[in-house]
Amino acid sequence: MTTSPDWPLFEVFIRARSGLEHKHVGSLHAVDARMALEHARDVYTRRLEGVSIWVVRSSEIAASDPLDADAFFEPARDKVYRHPTFYTIPEEVKNL
């Protein structure tokens, strides 16, 4: 016995206010993108939490592997000179 049709999983992203980026809020099952949008509205924006919703099938998301995170992000680790605080500027110099 199966209980429900095998509807795909969608990830839901919501823009909270105009000017902000869409942010991942959770996931839901739906038969297609249109139903996913309507369900996302009902499940994730009952209190006006958003002005725009994106949904994408979870299977379409490629993600970095958490086990390889150390090696994957290693190239940025020794490049502190990419941050402004790396540089010493004489105190009397302004607007820099």
Partner: protein, 331 residues
Amino acid sequence: MYTQGLDSLGKDCLASTSAETAALNERFEAKIARDERIEPKEWMPDAYRQTLVRQISQHAHSEIVGMLPEGNWISRAPTLRRKAILIAKVQDEGGHGMYLYSAAETLGISRDELVLQLLAGTAKYSSIFNYPTLTWADIGAIGWLVDGAAIMNQIPICRCSYGPYARAMVRICREESFHQRQGFEIMTTLAKGTPAQRAMAQDALNRWWWPSVMMFGPSDVDSKHTAQSMRWKIKRFTNDELRQHFIDVTVPQAEFLKLVVPDSKLAWDEAAQHYRFGEIDWSEFHSVIKGHGPCNRERLEARRRAHEEGRWVREAASAYAEKERARAAAA
């Protein structure tokens, strides 16, 4: 919440040698010790995964079954305002069930399995929802006491070591505080009303007090899972700590309503700064959990009926989507 990615991860884990597993476990334990969050695709011990599946799914089922006792009163709410509020609350519970099922799915169990376990009667859910809602005052008592107890349980879970569960809980807690307040408002209105309305409020408190106190689960000495769950930072406080906190904050609220908490042993302990309370009837708790509460059968039958009666909607949606896909392919 990326459920699909878990299948391949599971296979990798099976193939790994015990030395590799030990290294992975060490890394996992170190993350827990640093108070970092564990995310779905990361390696985690099977027991941690199983514990979370059990806890999150029970929590999800509780939200879904929790719609039933209150749904009973939607058509009989005394005013349009109360009716709109109750509908919104019941809709929230449904939403909370959805957040939690999604969180459980990130651990590799499918929605279908979860729903099946509930409908088959093999899944557990909170014992409280197997009590009947006999009068309108019960809706007040549920909001005030049951949601109050639930919030107390849930706030520490916002800091749970498992990311998706913690995030779902932040969302839920944000929404639940209105649930408790609307319940207390109902109780206040009844407590200030006619003698008959006061009596109704007192009767609801009499029936819901002990089941609410039991919602925190078995006493620490009898709780099978507490120690390990606390070590894994799934749980942050023990059942008895949370229960004591609930009683400490709720008794003054009952006093404000001038209602009597149905516990003759209840007394303020000045030295400990806590209320002392009477013996809990654990045989009742275990009997309700095992399925012998006043409404267990009725609740499951209602869920099964709702599921069957909704079948045609799900099938129609699938058929329509299929037709749309075929149309798009032909165009």
